[in-house]
Symmetry: C2
Subunit: 332 residues, 2 copies
DNA sequence: ACGCTTGATTGGATCGATCCAAGCACGATT
DNA sequence: AATCGTGCTTGGATCGATCCAATCAAGCGT
């Protein structure tokens, strides 16, 4: 910095102002300083700046060990968008469990290596929210806070609205007997999505009784559950995950039928394999980039004003229509 | 730190030594300092340490924008393992192109925010290697350096060995006419994998002529290519990607045949959906954790001794056997 | 008992950028 | 023309940990 100051024939403080409060400088001086910075390729030293400012301008994000069976590809786009957060760096650390995650929070905060955290995969009565709240650490969660005391800012995808879009799509294609393939009751996410189907059916005066089945994301269980729905004579199945939709494919093939042609099928998540299937799977795409951007926005606002009330935001996902849900209306 | 020193009744330098050169302290003093650190919950300030030591102990990793069609789930496990690198932090930043990636390198190095980089998805004549090499920036690549001048340390998965394992598995099950479903020639990775099949077939004195087909990772192209192989009367197909294996599934079903039962199929990458398929897909699993660990190991060694010769390492992947490749030997 | 060596401990200077308060120049006002 | 005020610029102190050189205590041999 001293070199830049000398070259621009100003004091070092003026260089600092040129970077942090450019409006304080006379345009002419500012230009001279900027030129010197450019010529010398000067960049402020991160550590020195953090030390003096008492902030790291870094966001921490915990990467949990991949859980088998649970789709992790979701993280990928989200992470990319998070990393693109303007003005902040992203420090990624890995944890094997919830408890370890909080331990690492403690470490990183103690070392002042991060200013805030972004949380992922929130659970029921997630201990992280309270821990961070109690210490007034800024954080934003991707995934709603499933506890009664609604600590913290969060963004989530409106699963009900996503399934609603899928169901509407089926209705518009002429289907009337539309089954829902869900997860066993009790998971907040799954119940939320199921509710989207139920309310859409009711709005259209369509039947819901006996038209739901549930299974975990395993191929055999999903196939059996889908089979049970087909036994009810449904002409369309809305699944709450792509893995479950895959079970529908299997169940249909078992009967010599074809997804899309004989029975319409939709999934959820728009996994990478959705477009690789035959027929390609219609699925609900999560707005991960939007969610990441919203997390960062909330974080920035919270850092600016730590006392503002907590905010929440639901993002509406988008239905990606492919061949598995049509093109022919099967309900004629 | 001053507080800790006061509490332990020593000078601040002694506290520093307790952390960085514990062997310099009398055991008794060390214990007293450690106790004080514990009681006060003291943690060294990252920025201050970086400033003085002139190193950040942070590794940079560029996350490229997800390319549609290309599996990104691979990154997930790799990233987790990278983040677990002992003694180093992981700074993730996002880039949209190769050129932008180098720009960001320049920025981060200028700010002294990172000490080294880990590279991913290396390409032919990758510009990053030379750029980093010219500036003597420590780096390690996941993916071999495909250029003649072999700049840089790298680790890669031995694709040929992986396909070899898959092919051997087929041979052991009694198959003799084993087809290879590859990518169009010209991709280093694809050609390497194809070579693994060829050499295994030759070693066993099995035919290779007319038993290869190629397609990109798109469902229709893959299905047609797989169909061509089936026309040749193969009893087993080794595919160089899971997406291509999916094409085999489709081609078989078109003929009323079943993967695993009628014709054996294997894929590559062990994508999350491999075990969701019906039948579950036998696939070659990449040792991503090992690759990440090896990258970090190489990086640490290079930082310790910047002049040591560049090193390379090939890791052998593991075949995950599921139902698509058996259980019945079809070659009888 | 004394000096000497070894080993642990101490205070002071330093890394690079920012904050603070004081200084200077310039233009406007009377 | 002198004074005042505003706005830009300046040097000095500071953030927290580490490096350096000097000091101090203890242990050993003579």
């Amino acid at each position: 910095m001293a070199d830049v100051a000398r070259r621009a024939e100003v004091g070092k403080q003026t260089v600092s102002n040129a970077l942090n409060n450019p409006e304080l400088l006379r345009p002419e001086t500012l230009a001279r300083v900027k030129a010197a910075i450019e010529e010398l390729g000067y960049r402020p030293h991160t550590a020195a700046r953090s030390l003096r400012r008492r902030e790291s301008r870094t966001i921490g994000f915990a990467l949990e060990r991949s859980v088998a069976g649970r789709s992790n590809a979701v993280n990928d786009r989200f992470l990319h968008a998070l990393a693109a957060a303007a003005g902040y760096r992203l420090l990624v650390f890995s944890v094997d469990s919830r408890e370890q995650e909080i331990e690492r929070y403690d470490e990183l905060l103690g070392e002042q290596a991060v200013d805030a955290f972004v949380l992922d995969r929130t659970g029921i009565d997630d201990p992280r929210h309270r821990w961070l709240h109690d210490r007034s650490v800024p954080f934003a969660a991707f995934g709603r806070s499933w506890s009664d005391e609604d600590f913290g800012d969060w963004v989530d995808v409106d699963g009900a609205a996503g399934i609603e879009a899928a169901t509407e799509h089926m209705v518009a294609a002429g289907h009337r007997k539309i089954g829902l393939l869900g997860w066993p009751a009790g998971s907040g996410t799954g119940d939320d999505r199921t509710e989207g189907w139920r309310r859409t059916m009711k709005r259209h005066g369509l039947p819901v009784r006996g038209l739901t089945a549930a299974a975990a994301n395993r191929p055999d269980a999903a196939r059996r559950a889908a089979s049970a729905l087909l036994d009810q004579g449904v002409t369309a199945i809305v699944a709450v995950s792509d893995a479950l939709a895959l079970g529908c494919y299997d169940a249909l093939r078992e009967r010599g039928q074809r997804p899309g042609a004989d029975v319409a099928v939709t999934g959820f998540d728009d996994s990478p394999f959705a477009e690789l299937l035959d027929p390609p799977l219609t699925s609900v795409e999560q707005p991960l980039e939007g969610a990441a951007a919203e997390c960062v926005r909330m974080l920035v606002e919270r850092i600016a004003d730590p006392r503002r009330p907590y905010g929440q935001r639901l993002l509406t996902p988008r239905l990606v229509v492919r061949d598995s849900s049509g093109p022919t209306a099967a309900g004629a």
